[in-house]
């Protein structure tokens, strides 16, 4: 079957099988920032945004993305135009192997859109479905809190 969707702002039409997952579709289309860790919704490394909300793409059917918009880490910021979350992760040295990083960035993007001024506890709670085995999460948590500040400042400046 054919579906229409928008990936990182670009409209697409693509052929899918009924049982195909969004993870498979995105990787097939070359969005390698979407990672596979468990395929069962238990680790969060495959997190992407579906209409702005974080989902585990490994348990989301590709068909569910029909007529909707998907954002992967590639759509959040680019090397020349990093998003404040990405900048903060770099400044805090939060990412180690980086395998969990795209998922955490997508998650944080959704979370900060909803909670522009979160507490540390809220950040930790939001991250609990995104496993990371390298970092102990602490620098990610600090980076996301820092990013929240940067984003508030930016929206304050522009508004």
């Amino acid at each position: 079957m054919k579906i229409k969707l928008t990936i990182n702002g670009v409209p697409r039409e693509t052929e899918i099988t009924p049982d195909e997952k969004l993870l498979g579709l995105l990787r097939r289309e070359g969005y390698f920032g979407v990672k596979f860790g468990c395929g069962r919704g238990e680790c969060g490394v495959c997190t992407v945004l579906l209409d702005g909300r974080a989902v585990n793409s490994c348990i989301t059917f590709a068909a569910q993305a029909h007529n909707r918009s998907v954002t992967t880490v590639e759509g959040i910021g680019t090397p020349d135009n990093l998003h404040p979350i990405q900048e903060a992760i770099l400044d805090h040295g939060a990412a180690q192997c980086g395998y969990c990083t795209p998922g955490i960035i997508c998650l944080a993007r959704d979370f900060l859109d909803e909670n522009p001024d979160p507490t540390e506890e809220q950040v930790r709670d939001a991250l609990k479905g995104n496993l990371c085995r390298c970092t102990g999460y602490q620098k990610y948590v600090e980076a996301i809190l820092d990013a929240a500040g940067r984003m508030r400042k930016l929206s304050g400046d522009s508004g």
């Binding site: 910021g77 805090h92 395998y99 990083t101 709670d125 085995r133 620098k139």
Partner: protein
């Protein structure tokens, strides 16, 4: 003593691959497209111990889209070890790529390569296997019984210690006269400790892609810690000379020891050679848990004798370890359980100059998952037993646990005799301790956690609070074995290429090597393009294990940079008509007394103008020292006496890693190691049914710490200067894993007065311990 100020070393340089990592541009093994790539899947044994009587793959082979099916009949009958070590390999060669005997639930029966993963999966279901099910050894404590089933054939593979008794490896060393020490001691404490199976749980599952390049050479793109060992080890298994194999490690998603194993590469390569096609073999998460490698379960008997003043008279550690179905790292991990722990405490004060230490370890085969290398490499098990015992002695003597340790800890200038006898799988190398910030770690951690006030605290109510300490060391590389080499070359714009065999597992070692080289070359780390871990393009490295990269390969980077520096200065002296000793290399310029030239100009002069040559150098480094980093961990916990729940409120870790080349990364390594150690202490364990099948091979049921579970951790980097390391550096990556189990066990004792002697400290175990205290 004031230390030299560095321009690159000691700074929080951003990771050189950082932008790629945060924008999804980083390329891991799976992130390439190869036309005609096949998908491999493995059929696994449902039985803990069985022999294949008959295997029929005809139907699977004839399924459209199936390109190859391999069983033990199709692969060379060569035994090897998957351990991924240098030759002579200390692990027994007890493994076939595919065998007709199954030794654990999850052992490899057959492999399929097909056009899609779905077809490969369907083909697995069509393979008909008739098994003769054999009695299995499922309890390590009965593995040596005379009537226990034999996991490996007799006569057996080379390197197995005593196959008739299921003993994969054993080691025993004695120094001084421990018997006399114990006999004379005023107090002897002896207890049994148990630790079970846990997994490294890197987020990227094991994965390998193999293909043939345009000249027909075999390319292996793999998530490994040891590309050069992979190349050497698979060569005979796939029937290709080393020169016809290229191993590439791209970005990888964590490893922690579990990817030192050469597990997927031979099978994947054989499928490529059979079909001529690229083949991708990725494990499912369940396969990662069940069939990759785990931390060795152990039963440890720890015995320490002291005199009434708290001076240790003798120490003894007896270890029974379960290596599972295969003996990967069976000898060396167990050696480390002794060699990384016992030397931390001196026994020579009691009778001047005589140590009384005994260490014995026996690793047995069982029909359970296979153990191997994991961060800490035997030390987390050993510290749980040893440090908890030290805490108990302090309590029995009525001494503060810190004061007791301080009386007995190793000091600069000490040379623990045990290390001469006990190396990694062979005799050791004499070590003289040249840097030791242990007492400073303890002093600062103690102040930070508020030890003295918190030890005096007493709580009312069902939730009790306690603080505990653990004191630790590790090593930096394997002395006399680990070797790293680095090549550096200069470009016309003053940038450098740095080529290293070393393997950045996400640890940041590419960046660390660049920082070290940049320091020598008076420039910035981001002037370096680092290419690492490609056996065709980079010089050799034994690989990323044993906390070796910064200390060993870092020194190679420093040496190579020193040679390049000399070439630059010699040429600049000619260009500027000045004497070499009057030149200063800094900020990408060579400054003379009158004029300067840029690094780019020096390079252009060399490439195009005078006495043309490539400014480039290679250097290797090996060390006979393995300086230990030191650390003190402090845990502040609550124990709910009604539910048995242990909660870590605060965790302080002070670590002496010598000079931290990149303090932010050193903190990051420490935080991640604590996370793994917290899981070991509190939540992670394999659960088996009575037939040896793992019941919880998924993150839902195997609980690694999430962000919400983690306590706030404070990392204190204690600066020391290790004279044998690059700019004073030692290692940092493994040591943190050793601390949480003993620190939390000791804190639980402080809170509620019971000793937990088995990890993890689940609510059930805590409640059971409280109950036995009260009855």
């Amino acid at each position: 003593m004031s230390k030299p100020k560095f321009r690159s070393v000691g700074h929080n340089q951003r990771k050189l691959d950082g932008v790629a990592l945060v924008t999804g541009k980083a390329r891991y093994v799976d992130d390439i497209e190869l036309r005609g790539m096949l998908y491999a899947k493995i059929l696994r044994s449902p039985h803990a111990h069985a022999r294949i009587v008959e295997i029929d793959v005809r139907e699977a082979r004839s399924l459209p889209g199936v390109c190859a099916v391999l069983t033990y009949q199709d692969v060379p009958r060569i035994q090897y070890t998957t351990a991924g070590q240098g030759p002579p390999e200390p692990s027994p060669k007890d493994t076939f790529v595919l065998d007709d005997k199954m030794r654990f639930v999850g052992d490899r029966v057959a492999a399929v390569a097909a056009k899609t993963p779905q077809i490969a999966e369907a083909a697995l279901k069509m393979i008909k296997v008739e098994y003769e099910v054999l009695p299995a050894v499922l309890n390590m404590e009965h593995a040596m019984d005379p009537d226990a089933p034999k996991v490996h054939e007799i006569p057996s593979a080379n390197g197995i210690s005593i196959p008739e008794r299921n003993i994969a490896a054993q080691v025993e060393v004695t120094d001084g006269d421990p018997g006399r020490g114990f006999a004379e001691a005023d107090l002897v404490v002896e207890n049994l400790y148990r630790v079970g199976y846990v997994h490294a749980s890197h987020t990227e599952p094991h994965i390998c892609i193999t293909y043939l390049d345009e000249t027909g050479r075999l390319v292996v793109r793999t998530s490994t810690q040891v590309p050069f060992h992979v190349r050497r080890i698979i060569a005979p298994l796939v029937g290709r000379p080393i020169g016809q194999i290229r191993v590439i490690k791209p970005r990888i998603g964590g490893a922690f020891g579990a990817k030192q194993e050469v597990l997927l590469e031979p099978l994947c390569a054989l499928l490529t050679l059979k079909t001529g096609c690229p083949v991708r073999l990725q494990l499912t998460r369940e396969e990662v848990f069940v069939s990759s490698r785990t931390r060795h379960p152990q039963v440890l008997r720890c015995k320490v004798g002291v005199n009434k003043d708290g001076i240790i008279a003798a120490t003894q550690l007896d270890v029974l370890a379960n290596t599972g179905a295969y003996g990967s790292h069976a000898l060396t991990v167990q050696c480390n359980t002794g060699s990384k722990t016992l030397p931390l405490y001196r026994t020579l004060q009691y009778r001047e100059g005589v140590n009384n230490v005994h260490f014995k370890a026996t690793a047995v085969y069982t029909n359970l998952p296979v153990a191997g290398a994991i961060r800490g490499y035997g030390a987390p098990q050993g510290y749980f037993a040893l440090d908890t015992t030290m805490d108990e002695i302090a309590h029995r003597l009525g001494m503060d646990p810190i004061e007791f340790r301080l009386k007995n800890l190793i000091r600069e200038g000490d040379s623990p005799a045990l290390l001469e006898q006990l190396g990694e799988g062979r005799e050791g190398v004499k070590q003289v301790l040249k840097s030791c910030g242990l007492r400073e770690c303890i002093r600062r951690g103690r102040a930070e956690i508020g030890w003295d006030e918190k030890r005096a605290r007493r709580d009312q109510g069902p939730v009790k609070r306690g603080v505990g300490v653990a004191v630790l060391q590790q090593g930096s590389g394997i002395p006399g074995i680990d070797m790293g080499a680095v090549t550096i070359k200069l470009n016309e714009d003053g940038s450098f290429n740095l080529l290293a065999g070393a393997t950045d597992l996400g640890t940041g070692s590419d960046t660390i090597l660049a920082q070290i080289a940049a320091e020598v070359l008076g420039t910035d780390a981001d002037k370096f393009s680092v290419l690492s871990s490609d056996t065709d393009l980079t010089p050799f490295d034994t690989g990323a294990y044993a906390s070796s990269t910064t200390y060993i390969t870092g020194m190679a980077a420093k040496k190579a940079a020193g040679k390049v520096r000399k070439m630059i200065l010699d040429r600049a002296a000619r260009m500027l008509s000045e004497r070499g000793e009057d030149l200063v290399l800094e900020d990408g310029q060579v400054r003379g007394r009158k004029e300067s030239v840029s690094l780019g100009e020096v390079c252009s002069d060399a490439l195009y103008q005078h006495d043309q040559e490539q400014i480039m150098a290679t250097a290797s480094h090996i060390s006979y020292d393995s300086p230990p980093p030191f650390s003190a961990h402090f845990a502040d916990v609550t124990v709910d006496t009604e539910t048995g729940r242990v909660k870590v409120l605060e965790y302080i870790v002070a670590v002496d890693c010598g000079t931290a080349i990149n303090p932010q990364m050193a903190e990051g390594q420490t935080l991640g190691g604590i996370q793994m150690g917290l899981g070991y202490a509190l939540s992670e364990e394999y659960i088996f049914d009575d037939r040896g099948r793992m019941l919880n091979p998924r993150f839902m049921d195997y609980k690694i710490f999430s962000a919400a579970d983690m306590p706030r951790i404070k990392v204190i980097l204690v600066d020391t200067f290790e004279p044998t390391g690059p700019f004073g550096a030692k290692s940092v990556s493994e040591i943190p894993t050793n601390g949480p189990a003993p620190a939390i066990a000791n804190a639980i004792f402080h809170a509620v007065g019971v000793r937990l002697r088995e990890v993890p400290f689940t609510p059930e175990r805590v409640l059971a311990a409280l109950k036995s205290r009260d009855t």
